[in-house]
């Protein structure tokens, strides 16, 4: 195994560079192609966004092969390249950084059966058993035939000499590295050949804590590094022995916990900076002599921690280390490459992790985005958006909450720099609109399918949230207009009853946007469509429960069920009351409600389901009540419609008190809706 590792390493050293180079070359040719395309598209693409690389524009402008993921997709290659760079330099720096540990790796300590660890697993025991059997057999053979043992020895020798050769070359490498790293040398060497025992760690901890002993800290960091890489590299670069020095669980925990807990304080202590310094102070330190000594330590610490974040899977560990890493996030300012890596890991954990992990990684991303350069902000935004797109393809109820969190946190991040984020939003929304346009114009199956998907819906949802969250702080009117048109287009593109959930979503978005921005978006006709869906007459068995929130399109058989009818009516009432609730104090509420009322009355007359009729009747009554209320108030005023200011002021007092029947009714409707969906979810479970 070890041989293999070394070989691999050597091979990588010799050949991989060229491979990488070649890869990069290929990529650049890709880019060239893309830029060619770009030239073609440049004419159509007038809104040159300063923020956007031309390549991305080309991707967006190309209406033919458009997909949601396509957006920022050029960044992906960028990112990959970036990763290559990071890894590249990482592996370069890695050696030099690591040299301290290498002697440990080489000191061959056999963790035999006498290993301090607890019981080996069942599988291991099995293997052990077999091994013993075979060994016995072998020894028997050896005893029987001495010639064989000789033969075996000679064979082994060949193997060993080969291995030694490798080791020798490796050693040479290390030695030269050691030479370079001489400043750290003395500390580690004291302990390196020893096993990292719990007592040693304890004493180091003590030294570091009490006396701020730099050398102890260095060795501790090396131990930390080893711990972080423990297990991960057994098949990798360093060979089987690398994790060896850490013998038992206690030590392992101790190292990690101590370093994670204290490292930040120690660094600050060493550098003499306060706990709430800014990025600039770190950058300012660069010429400081202290910085020069501490820098490798910080780097080692950050790198190891990042590595562990990649390795670990347990949410508690991740959350804790993320939390700790966050306190020392300011140090990342000095290591731009590490920032990229941090963002990558952070986004990954944010998108895939569980609640806490996701939350903590978001906090880190937020800090990165706000604390560092604007490029970092952009990078975070793009990566997060892409991760979001990648994760919103399906919407099971279980995922729903997570998606909501992702959406909200993304919007939260966006709201930190509205100028930049609005630019990004513009690009993305334009992309969405082009997809829709294609669908509207061609009505081709693929194009339409793309629109009627969770991915598309979630993207819209994301930007709707963003716009409605930020509209008061920034001029997002153009975006607002486009997204309203997109939503309208979506609603009209899918008129059938099977698309009820989608239609519902669209209207909800419109209501949401309208209420947050204060503009008027008519939804009545869209809602009335829902009410008048033509369903086959036989309305018999109640169909299976079907969760509205987890589908854009209903299954066909479901249309026949009674639930569908109910859902239609309830949705219509809910959506309409949300729409009315917003304007229930507006002076033209009576007119707004006129046409819907006419239709609802007609429906009420025609409908033969008593329960539904009751619901509709109730709604009509409340609306009429409100109409009367507004009318009465309206008759008292003296101003005319062209007096916009007075109109604005109309009934504002009552609105603030919020005690009209309609408001109360609206609340009750919403509560009912919530409970309904709750029941639905429970039934599902």
């Amino acid at each position: 195994m070890g041989k293999l590792g070394k070989k691999a390493r050597k091979f990588a050293k010799k050949n991989l560079q060229s491979v990488l180079k070649r890869k990069r070359k290929i990529k650049s040719t890709f880019k060239k192609k893309a830029s060619k395309k770009d030239q073609r598209d440049a004419a159509e693409n007038e809104e040159e966004n300063a923020e956007l690389s031309a390549r991305r524009n080309s991707e967006n402008g190309d209406i033919e092969d458009m997909s949601l993921e396509a957006i920022f997709s050029e960044d992906e290659s960028d990112e990959d390249e970036g990763d290559v760079d990071v890894d590249d330099s990482g592996s370069d720096g890695y050696l030099s950084e690591d040299s301290n540990c290498l002697p440990i790796a080489e000191s061959e300590i056999h963790l035999g059966e006498n290993g301090a660890a607890g019981k080996p697993s069942a599988q291991n025991q099995e293997i052990l058993l077999e091994l013993e059997n075979k060994k016995k057999k072998l020894s028997r053979l050896k005893a029987k035939d001495p010639g064989f043992s000789k033969f075996l020895e000679s064979h082994d020798k060949g193997l060993k000499s080969f291995r030694n050769e490798n080791a020798a070359t490796l050693d040479e490498d290390e030695r030269s590295d050691d030479g370079m790293q001489s400043m750290d040398e003395d500390g580690p060497h004291l302990y390196l050949n020893k096993l990292l025992t719990s007592s040693a760690i304890n004493s180091w901890c003590h030294l570091v804590k009490e006396q701020h002993n730099a050398s102890a800290f260095i060795s501790l960091l090396n131990a930390y590094r080893a711990a972080c890489h423990y297990g991960a590299e057994s098949t990798g670069i360093l060979g089987s022995g690398s994790g060896a020095p850490i013998l038992d669980c206690e030590t392992f925990c101790k190292i990690l916990m101590f370093v994670l807990r204290e490292a930040d304080d120690v660094f600050r202590e060493m550098l003499g900076i306060s706990s709430n310094c800014k990025r600039d102070t770190i950058l300012g330190l660069k010429n400081n002599s202290k910085w020069k000594t501490v820098r490798p330590l910080i780097k080692s610490y950050l790198r190891s921690t990042l590595f562990m974040l990649n390795q670990a899977t347990d949410s508690e560990i991740l959350a804790f280390s993320l939390n700790r890493l966050r306190t020392s996030i300011v140090f990342f300012a000095a290591f731009p490459l590490l920032i990229r890596r941090l963002i990558k890991i952070g986004v990954h954990l944010w998108a895939t992790g569980e609640e806490t992990v996701s939350f903590h990684s978001f906090l880190i991303l937020q800090d990165v985005a706000s604390g560092f350069s604007s490029d970092c902000f952009d990078l975070c935004l793009i990566k997060m958006y892409k991760a979001f797109i990648g994760h919103c393809k399906f919407a099971e109820p279980a995922l729903f909450k997570h998606l909501q969190f992702l959406r909200n946190s993304f919007v939260e991040l966006c709201s930190q720099d509205l100028l930049r984020s609005s630019n990004k939003a513009k690009v993305s929304i334009n992309n969405l609109s082009r997809i829709l346009q294609l669908g509207l114009q061609t009505k081709k199956k693929e194009a339409v399918k793309k629109i009627c998907s969770w991915q598309y819906a979630n993207c819209i949802d994301l930007w709707v949230t963003y716009i409605s969250h930020c509209i008061h702080d920034y001029d997002l009117q153009p975006l607002l207009y486009i997204i309203i048109q997109i939503i309208n287009g979506m609603a009209t593109l899918f008129p059938g009853p099977r698309y009820l959930p989608l239609r519902r979503k669209c209207i909800e978005w419109l209501n949401h946007l309208s209420s947050s921005s204060g503009i008027f978006i008519p939804v009545t006709s869209l809602v009335l469509d829902v009410l008048e869906y033509k369903v086959s007459k036989e309305v018999g068995k109640p169909g299976k429960d079907f969760n509205f929130s987890s589908a854009v399109k209903l299954p066909k058989h479901w249309l026949k069920s009674r639930n569908f009818r109910e859902d239609c009516v309830f949705s219509a009432i809910e959506l309409l009351s949300a729409h009315f609730a917003q304007w229930s104090y507006h002076i033209s509420f009576p007119e707004l409600a006129t046409i819907p009322l006419i239709h609802l009355r007609k429906f009420q007359e025609k409908s033969d389901v008593e329960s539904l009729r009751r619901v509709v009747k109730r709604f009509i009554d409340v609306v009429e009540q409100n109409i009367e209320f507004v009318k009465k108030k309206r008759d008292e005023v003296a101003f005319s419609p062209n007096d916009q200011q007075s109109v604005e002021a109309f009934l504002q007092l009552e609105k603030c008190s919020g005690n009209t029947p309609f408001t109360q009714y609206y609340r009750s409707v919403m509560e009912k809706a919530a409970s309904r969906s709750l029941i639905m979810n429970e039934n599902k479970r």
């Binding site: 089987s240 669980c249 916990m257 702080d473 008129p495």
Partner: protein, 844 residues
Amino acid sequence: MGKKQKQKIILPPELPPEILEDEIEVSDEDLQFVSENRDYAGFVSRLDTHSITKHVTRVADVKEDDLEALYEKRLRKTSVLKENEDKGLQLDPVDALPVKTLDGKLYYRTRPKPENGGDENEVGEGEKDGGGNEGIIKLTKAERRAKLKKSKKEAKKEGKKLSKPEEAEQAPQVAVLAEVKEDLTAEELFESKKCKLAELGMALLADPESNIKSLKEMLQIARDDNPSISKLGFLSLLAVFKDIIPGYRIRLPTEKELEMKVSKEVKKMRFYESTLLSAYKAYLQKLIASEKQPVFHQVVVRCICNLLDAVPHFNCCEILLEVVVRNLGSQDVVVRKLCCATIKSLFTNEGKHGGVATVEAVRLIANHVKVKNCQLHPDFVEVFMSLSFDEDLQRREVPDDKSKVKNKKNNKRKSIEEPSQLQQNERKKNKKELMLKTREEVAAEYKAASLAPDVMEKRRMQTETISAVFETYFRILKHTMMFTAVSSEANASSIGGASGAHPLLAPCLKGLGKFSHLIDLDYIGDLMNYLKRLAGGGSSNDGPSQKNSNHLTVTERLRCCIVAFRVMRNNLDALNVDLQDFFVQLYNLILEYRPGRDQGEVLAEALKIMLCDDRQHDMQKAAAFVKRLATFSLSIGSAESMAALVTLKNLLQKNIKCRNLLENDAGGGSVSGSISIYQPYAMDPNLSGALASVLWEINLLSKHYHPSISTAASSIAGMNSAHNQVYHAILSPQQAFMDLLLERESFNSKSDTQKSSSRRKRGNGTSILANTELSSNMSGSIDENEVSKKLGDHFMLLRNIKENERLRDELDRATLSLHLYDEYKQQKKTGSTKTKKCKKLLIA
């Protein structure tokens, strides 16, 4: 030339008798010509390269041709080898297979096919040559192909004589084919027939008069059993007929005429015409017979359509028309489109057939509609839209024509005749005034001088057309009404898409709208009644059964209103029909309108025609519409909303009093009519009391998300009753509707880049996450003990994995050692044998 003779001898044994026959015939008919050919046999064979112009001075030409002749002779000599092969080929009908193999060298299968096809060709050609005594000497195949065209020209020169021999040849030829059939594969046969077809066709095209006989041959081929050959036959015949059919209708001579003595020319002509006609008829018969077969359907329809398009004036055009009209409603989209296009072109290019076909087609369509009880494809009636009527003609005909129609159709109305005629005369005068007088005079004179009788005829036909068209339209209307009345009682809800129930209604209404000016005044009253009832959603006279409105879509009902207004507008002076009902309909239809389901364009058109274009409205009504449109635009998509607002603005501009709606006078002020309170749910605009209301909608609309709508609303709010603003043209509702359609949306941000914001660049503190309970319990400290425990677990896991790896490694090594033992043993064995051998050797 001897060579030619040789070839004749080499030709298959079946041929010589024909040749004999030919020679006899030819020599009989044109001995001189033949002998001339004989003399110059070698040269004449090259005559084919001449242009026709040189035809006259043939003898002189020959000398000029010498050079070329020599050249070709040389060429022929070089290709002697190939010729031999060809000769071998020619023999193959007799003993087919062995020769074929000989010829086909390597390409046993592929080569014979064309060769044989060519062979057949050649036989024909050879015979033809023989008949004409042209003395064409066999050329290599490629050359022959290239010469095909030339041979056609030659044939033309040969004149009529050739046709007869060829016909005579035909029978034996077929016999030969039958005989050889076994030897030829089906493909070869196909190929040969194809070539034959092409040849005959070319010949016909080149010189129809002389080759007219070969039409029959082609017909024969078209009757072939093989569908693909028949198809080819149809198509090539189509091409031929399209080309050779004369520009007049052929009238066969009567018996008396036949008895009369006529010149040779006339005889020839008669013969030609009768042959052509009989062939054409046979062709049509065949076509119609095979039209029913699905295999041929498309091809046949294509042929017929093409024929009708190209030669609508010719005999038997009625048959063609019948088929085309029948296929107007075909299930097959291709066929349907083809037929529609044909009929339309028939209607638009009346000059080709003088309008006869138009009348016939319209009549046929009318019949179909009648027979099929209006259950036809919309295209059936849609084609009427491309009809065009000569207005001058129409107007002129009116006085006398009308009485005719009336006598025919409704005798009861005679009493009204006089006054209406008077009115008609008045109208005539009015129109005359409008016309340019000079032009009028010139036209009248011209007609009087040249086309007087023709005009009468045209007039008659046009009248017939018009009456048939309107008969159809009225039938459809009536049917629709009856249908709705019946079905409303039977089953109210079964009809899903109402447009499916009345497929013809939409084109019918469109047509009525277009030709409304041609409608006889007497019908207009009835028409309006129909329309009124249809707009009301069927049978409104059966009492207020609201259900009926389900049967016609909103679009259709709107169309009815539009048509009614069109009709009225076009006959404005003559009639005084109350259009009030249509306004009531529109008033209520606006509520029914649903984007997506109904066509917004129609709504916009209705708004334009009924509200924008109309004269001064009744104030009460205008106010009602203003109010309704405003209310409507609150609950509808932006495009419709914009159309409504544009109309609203228009109404307000025209009706100054209505601007009172923009003012909040207590109690509606002085202008409010008899109804002092606005009733939004009233069905009748006149009873809504809209004047008492205030246009508060404008306020909400000015908050509309669409910038154009909000600006429009603001501008409406700014209108003032005090002084009359200048009437400036605003865009029509249709235009407004189209502009704001989603499909047209460019999705570019409307307002340009942000006016560098005074707003905060950073978001405010309110975090969207704040309300999620996550943040509260998570930002708190994490239980470190828990973490360390987890870390321990993590460590154990990693350790186990490592252990596992290590153990596996060792295990592998152990097993390897065991394997090595086997190896070792073997080695030892060989070693020992070797040593033994060595020892043995040593011993030896």
